[in-house]
């Protein structure tokens, strides 16, 4: 046993060798994208497949090595690197980092190419490259008849590179590179079949909606930069002491690493709470600069709320979730990778990464939790009435992301991250399963026109069933544990002054669980159970090739196996046991815990869920699924052909039309802006400025000129007379002046 533990604790490649090569993880897919994009046509399909897959596979291998290295404790010395923002002896444990020098610098501001892999980003690395590889493999078969394969794989590799940048960045601005990079790749992939205007439009909608979030993200970044500057000016030694650093070290690190480095932000968060006895606390007003007069805590809340808007754009939360369902216009593997497993979870990752800042603002946390809960509920309700299998899965993604946001908002970061991982597995499995269904049924997406696939597509059916159980939250699959961990945290963590949030969000969470079980069961039942629909496009579905079923199986297995992470198997520092994943992420999340304790903003609860809680959740999920089973297996088939009540029809119509949110946005935002720009162009630009002022000036000049023309009589003697009169006038004036 000890031998095995030692084996896992000794990284095959020592961390100090690996750290300078971290860039390779990003560079490999980027190179793949370049080769596929530029030489794809020359290389041919097989070579492109090989290059794209091996680029991601290479990144996966490196990620595994890196992940391994983050747990390296060979010779009793845990892998670590010195924290540039802390005192000399301050080290960041269980993490690798490397700084590749300045990206750009101006004045006090500086951004470095710094990569950081700790347990959080290490886990995500594995998910991105691992699931990414499976989806690449799946795509080789899924896109086998498509002409644009080279472009497709180039975009997909580009996406992986951007996503890896996002999670490995050690500062906000570099993270933003990945953040926008994934948005760009997503834009390209959603609009992959660009000849269809609706698909191109969906891509643009996704990008512009994301840009609204990025707008908020940018402003929040600027506020954070200002905040760091103010903290650095105002903090006294006690504040720095509480943060585990000194002014000299902090300033030096600021000048070397820049103000947006996550480690620096963490130190600031540790210095800010009231209890440090220092000069700066959350209520301290900022003395000088553009933020003069505002308190640190107030600015932090605003920044976090802006980050929430940014995250809402990327992670499809209210009010910016509308792009995600339309994003299903892209190829299905893309939906699985980008719009389910990785990109959309970037918001959750961002908040986990900045957890120590987030816990300083209970208001922002409560807002995040409530936004998450409302989004989740709304998306679940819309999913009830969607007939497009991909749309249902899209809304279910929105809903699941809402659950993660609830977790983040209530301070149970590890569970949110765990749910992110398990969700990546089962949702990718569901999407790929849906893709397999489409592939075998002539691209049919309407679940009403499928049915009975259970016997024709056995592998797809089996894996889809497992994933459905996982997302529904059926014991003992991973989704059950991760979701339950979130809800447990939601129930027992309390935000300072906002206790009601826990109860409200928890209650909503139970409703959402039931809804999830209902619509997922509905999709499953209509697609796989019952009889084959008479409207089906092809008479007999065919099972997909191994390229497609193998990823399904792997993901289904992972959906089950990932449950281990939620088991309380590891010893807690203060006695008792704690879930594996909490233990695993504790090096990353401990600063947030200490900050929350010091600032008294969040009461974090560490207990493990009781059996009763498990049972409740399980019963709720079963009842939702059971209701769906009753309705779709027995109730509706019996009533087929009978007229439906008016109220039921109206409810269904509203839900089917997504509560008319798209129309609302069109009406209150898009139309007014278009109208405004049109009016401004026609009235202000063309009429007022150009016609009245510019051409008006020219016109007046021309008119005055032509009026003065008539003074030109051509009579030389008249001119001479004018001269004579003027001369006389001058003489007379001079005489008067002299005589006076």
């Amino acid at each position: 046993m000890d031998g095995i533990i030692d084996f896992f604790r000794t990284a095959p490649i020592p961390p100090d060798v690996l750290a300078p090569s971290l860039w390779l993880i990003i560079a490999l897919p980027l190179l793949g994208a370049f080769v596929c994009g530029v030489f794809g046509r020359m290389l041919g399909r097989a070579n492109v497949n090989l290059i794209a897959c091996s680029a991601v596979a290479g990144a996966f291998v490196l990620s595994v090595l890196t992940f391994w290295a983050t747990s390296d404790s060979a010779g009793g010395r845990v892998v670590n690197f010195p924290n540039p923002f802390g005192l000399e002896r301050d080290v960041v444990r269980y993490a690798l980092a490397h700084d590749y020098g300045t990206w750009f610098a101006a004045g006090d501001f500086r951004v470095n190419f710094g990569l950081l892999v700790d347990h959080l980003s290490g886990t995500l690395l594995l998910v991105i490259t691992g699931v990414g590889f499976l989806i690449h493999l799946y795509s080789t078969s899924y896109m086998e008849h498509d002409e644009g394969y080279a472009r497709y794989f180039a975009y997909l590799n580009l996406f992986v590179a951007a996503m890896l940048t996002l999670v490995m960045a050690d500062n906000l601005v570099l993270l933003f590179v990945g953040w926008e990079g994934v948005g760009m790749a997503s834009y390209l992939l959603i609009g992959f079949w660009y000849t269809d205007p609706a698909k191109a439009w969906a891509g643009r909608k996704a990008f512009v909606t994301n840009r609204i979030g990025d707008f908020a993200f940018l402003i929040a970044t600027f506020l954070i930069v200002l905040l760091v500057g103010a903290f650095n000016r105002q903090a006294d030694p006690r504040d720095f002491n509480a943060a585990g650093t000194s002014r000299e070290r902090y300033e030096q690190a600021l000048s070397e690493r820049g103000p947006v480095n996550f480690k620096g932000l963490e130190k600031m968060a540790q210095g800010l709470p009231e209890g440090t006895g220092g000069k700066v606390s959350l209520e301290t007003p900022i003395e000088s600069g553009p933020l003069e007069g505002h308190t640190f805590g107030g600015v932090m809340t605003v920044a976090m709320l802006l980050f929430l808007l940014g995250a809402a754009g990327k992670s499809a939360q209210l009010p910016l979730y509308v792009w995600l369902p339309d994003a299903m216009a892209g190829p299905t593997p893309v939906s699985a990778l980008i719009h389910a497993a990785t990109m959309v979870t970037a918001g959750v990752y961002l908040f986990c990464r900045m957890s120590s800042l987030l816990v300083l603002s209970p208001t922002a946390m409560a807002t995040i939790a409530i936004v998450g809960a409302l989004t989740s509920l709304l998306a679940a309700l819309i999913a009830f009435a969607q007939d497009d299998i991909k749309k249902v899965l899209a809304y279910s993604t929105v809903s699941q992301l809402g659950i993660m946001f609830m977790g983040v908002g209530m301070g149970i970061f590890w569970a949110a991250a765990l749910h992110l991982v398990t969700h990546a597995f089962f949702k990718a499995c569901l999407f790929l399963g849906a893709g397999s269904v489409m592939h075998g049924n002539g691209d049919e997406t309407d679940i009403k026109k499928l049915g009975g696939l259970r016997h024709e597509m056995k592998w797809t059916w089996g894996t889809f069933l497992v994933a459905t159980f996982a997302i529904t939250g059926i014991f003992p699959l991973s989704g059950f544990f991760s979701k339950d961990a979130i809800f447990h945290g939601v129930e027992h963590n309390h935000l300072h002054g906002l206790h009601w949030v826990s109860e409200v969000v928890y209650a909503l969470g139970l409703v959402i669980t039931a809804c999830t079980a209902f619509y997922m069961s509905r999709v499953y039942l209509l697609t796989f159970e019952g009889k084959r629909s008479s409207e089906a496009r092809v008479a007999h579905a065919h099972e997909s090739a191994w390229h497609m079923t193998l990823p399904l199986v792997v993901l289904a297995v992972l959906s089950v196996a990932a449950a281990v992470y939620a088991f309380p198997l590891m010893p807690r520092a203060g006695g008792g046991m704690q879930p594996v994943f909490e233990n695993f992420l504790s090096p990353v999340l401990r600063p947030a815990e200490t900050v929350a304790k010091a600032a008294e903003t969040v009461e974090l609860d560490n207990s493990t869920p009781s059996l009763l809680a498990y049972l409740t959740a399980w019963l709720v999920a079963i009842s939702g699924g059971g209701l769906a089973a009753y309705l779709y297996l027995s109730f509706f088939p019996k009533r087929a052909g009978q007229p439906v009540g008016a109220v039921a029809r109206a409810v269904r119509r509203v839900a089917h039309n997504k509560f008319y949110v798209d129309e609302l946005y069109e009406f209150i935002i898009i139309r007014p802006i278009k109208f405004l720009s049109f009016i401004l162009f026609r009235v202000v630009d063309s009429l007022v400025i150009d016609t009245v002022f510019v051409r008006g000036t020219a016109w007046v000049t021309a008119r005055v000129g032509s009026a003065l023309r008539y003074l030109q009589s051509g009579d030389a003697q008249a001119y001479a007379a004018v001269m004579a009169v003027a001369l006389l006038g001058g003489v007379a004036y001079a005489l008067i002046q002299v005589l006076q």
Partner: protein, 100 residues
């Protein structure tokens, strides 16, 4: 010695006569002669002041004016002849084409 006032009065009278001629006569040749008269009025003023100050600057100016007047007369007469050839008249009222 005659006071300078008389010279100046004479010059002013000459100038006014010349100007009057320029303004009212219609024959281009007569207008020219009147211009010469005005120039000579100016010359007289120059010389009178030169005499009064006892230096040569006025004389220099007068010579300049004479030279310019000669050139002007030459070019002016040439123009008048050209106009007469093309239009058959030297009446300034009939050659108002440079208008509007």
């Amino acid at each position: 010695m005659v006071p300078i006032t008389y010279y100046l009065l004479l010059a002013a009278a000459l100038f006014c006569m010349g100007m009057f001629g320029v303004l009212v006569r219609t024959n281009a040749l007569v207008v020219f002669m009147c211009v010469e008269l005005m120039l000579n009025a100016a010359n007289l003023t120059f010389l009178a002041f030169a005499r009064m100050h006892g230096d040569g600057i006025g004389h220099v100016s007068a010579f300049f004016v004479i030279a310019v007047a000669a050139a002007e007369a030459a070019i002016g007469l040439a123009i008048v002849i050209a106009v007469f050839r093309s239009r058959g008249t030297v009446n300034v009222d009939d050659i108002r084409t440079m208008k509007h």
